[in-house]
Amino acid sequence: MRADLAVIGAGPAGLAATLAAAAQGVRVTLIDSAAEAGGQFYRRPAAALRARRPQALHHQWRTWERLRDGLGTHVESGPVRHLTDHHVWLVERRSTGFTVHALLGPEQRDPAEVRADAVLLATGGYEKVLPFPGWTLPGVIAAGGAQAMLKGGLAVSGRTAVVAGTGPLLLPVAAGLAAAGVEVAALVDSADPLAFVRRSRALVAEPGKVVEGAGYAGRLLRHRVRTLARHTVVEAHGTERLEAVTVAALDRDGRVRPGSGRRIPCDTLAVGHGMLPHTDLAETLGCRLDGLTVHVDDEQRTDVPGVWAAGETTGIGGSALSLAEGHIAGRSAAARLHGTEPDPRAWAAAAKARTRLRAFFAALDTVYAPPAHWTELVTDDTVVCRCEEVTGGTIRAAVAELGARDARTVKLLTRAGMGWCQGRVCGPAVAGLAGCAFTPSRRPFARPVPLGVLARAGEADGD
């Protein structure tokens, strides 16, 4: 079956886009890797866990219910097809329309192909984690990973956690772990979020965000979680698994204050330094990127005809921004698929929210930053590329002795970024150690694809 519009990703942006387009009579195929819609933000316990209070780990549950019910209605009445467990590895541009290539199920062995006249990329983002000694020990997990395991699997990895790094994600992660019975020994942020509250005009325009933040802060107080602003984890300790972390205070320049280190015993460290967009599908389609994000116009169109993008892939900005962008993208795609010029007045409210939220997250970005001198914490024997086990010392040698000045050359000379994850995890760290700007690397396949599948991909039709 050929769809008018293939929406890739069933998180907030993809859901909003699907509902907006379907409401205009567009036949949408919504394609997502998870077993259920929702993406990372609305991730819920697996159905078979039969959770009666899934909302206990969530906020904005009512928004989710509205999206869920809307999707259900459209799927039932016909215009929307929802393909779950479809891991998209490539979107191929054809002489007419597009073919979305996916792998089925968690095993990702068998292929599926979806034809569509237009494509809407709502591929979301993933967490950035910068390296430090001991970060490869079992028990050290990405903050978002801890949250995903908790929200989706109702699972925690231990009894005592430290939540660390920087960014607005740390608060809900710490609050969630505490609510789930984990002792959160400390919330460690290299930024000082209070400085943001004092300083930001953008926050004044976002009263909802203040309430949300205050809500988490209140929960942390209730669980007696100690917050250490302008601190950082300098090392994770343990041999076979995490046993403790050392945290230290940062000075005004973002350097560790000598003598300020203290050891906190813990079996879990949930750590994150912000979010990165998934742009592989867009990049391979030939869409222009602005820095790390997909470039879109006011209608959320990329510069490739027939390709829209919305949500974190066009810039990290949270669920509310994703909803606004998804709505606009869906409306624009619907109009253009019907051969009409869209009327921006149809999405005026969403456009207003988009402007406001982009400003808010731009302001947030100026506050939540890793320690300015984080590379100094990366010792020569710290593994930086987790897949290929390339150390900081090897990367520094490639720069100092072999003349590498950019991340691609470092990769060629050290294998950093050549492994299973293709540099998605170590990319920012390698760029930082090489002293160059972090730019997205080319990844023609958004996911590993079996050669047997690749050998037959797209050969079914010949246009």
Partner: protein, 100 residues
């Protein structure tokens, strides 16, 4: 003490048995390999091909490939994504996962 299952009011069906390197482990319907292993107190199930270091969950959402594991003789499955079924045989994975 609270736990996440209570918090969310989970009432899963009866637990079933899987094995990790031949040792029996209880798992709940809906749990991924990683969730069941965490619940059993196991945090690593792979050793790296260079240094032989232990690894387990890292990103938790299928991006980092740190949690690779062999399930029912198929290597390099992501423990954070693959749901368990009764009788599944999980094996600690060494090296590339293709060494026999």
């Amino acid at each position: 003490m609270r736990n996440p299952l209570d918090l969310a009011g989970a009432r899963p069906g009866p637990a079933f048995t899987v094995t990790l390197d031949g040792r029996e482990i209880e798992a709940l319907p809906g749990q991924t390999v990683a969730a069941a292993l965490w619940a059993a107190g196991v945090t690593s199930w792979r050793t790296t091909r260079g240094e032989g270091r232990p690894r387990g969950i890292f990103c938790g959402i299928g991006v980092c490939f740190d949690c690779l594991v062999t399930v029912n003789d198929r290597p390099n499955q992501r423990a954070c994504l693959v749901p368990l079924h009764s009788g599944d045989a999980i094996r600690t994975q060494e090296g590339t996962g293709h060494e026999s």
